[in-house]
Symmetry: C2
């Protein structure tokens, strides 16, 4: 199920819905283009991976490390009340993990964000500022 | 944030909503008492853990192994179309990971199960059969 990163490509719907925020060792980090919630995706660069169990044990462990790094960075840059983490994939099957900053004051609280409301695209300055803060927390080089 | 398993106790709402299905190395495995979906919870026996990042790195790695074991067992015992995995915790903050078997034919597909419909309690024989099949897949001893 697992192949070299070179043969991996992002699913077109994920490419449409999200913006690149950096590359981690296993995953491409993407920002959901929805200003309603600070909402990231981790997409393992492994062709044909649909379930977490399609990854090797080594990749599963790395995915957990990247989820934890992303969760810490998101919490630090947003001061949110709760982090929601999920691998669902009922619509887009390519394995991707949602890491979402939640606030008791947000529009969907305490419900999950999936299917809550249509996405509201970021205005450019807000998105850029958020990605810069996040990348600083993650010690990621600036986007190439 | 992490303490000895002895001082851990299950949150009362999780105790009400779920049934014990066995103990793994880190987590208590629980069955959501909702016959609408084959739906498991993994609850790390670590006091005061709310976010995944409240666990030590060793426990995070073990959590990933137990999520993968549970996902494989659930897929094998239900022949489901997709596994959904999530740590949300907006209502019950005690860290717990949902592992849900999803079918293209289920009532909520492709939406997530959270908040979809009121739980429909299992009839006893169905629940017992499901837990027995699952425990066999997980090589867990019979419930004490």
């Amino acid at each position: 199920m697992v192949s070299e990163p070179d043969s991996w490509s992002l699913h077109p719907q994920l490419a449409r819905d999200t913006l690149p925020a950096g590359d981690m060792s296993l995953c491409q980090l993407r920002l959901m283009n929805d200003a309603n919630f600070p909402w990231l995706l981790l997409v393992p660069r492994r062709q044909n991976a649909i379930e977490i169990t399609d990854l090797t044990e080594t990749d599963q462990a790395q995915l957990m490390r990247e989820v934890a790094q992303t969760a810490r960075a998101l919490k630090a840059s947003t001061a949110c009340d709760k982090i929601n983490v999920a691998a669902i994939g009922n619509v887009v099957s390519q394995l991707h993990v949602h890491v979402v900053a939640r606030f008791r004051s947000d529009a969907a609280w305490p419900k999950p964000v999936w299917g809550f409301a249509p996405a509201c695209a970021y205005e450019d300055p807000a998105r850029e500022q958020f990605v810069i803060a996040l990348r600083r927390q993650l010690n990621l080089a600036s986007q190439g």
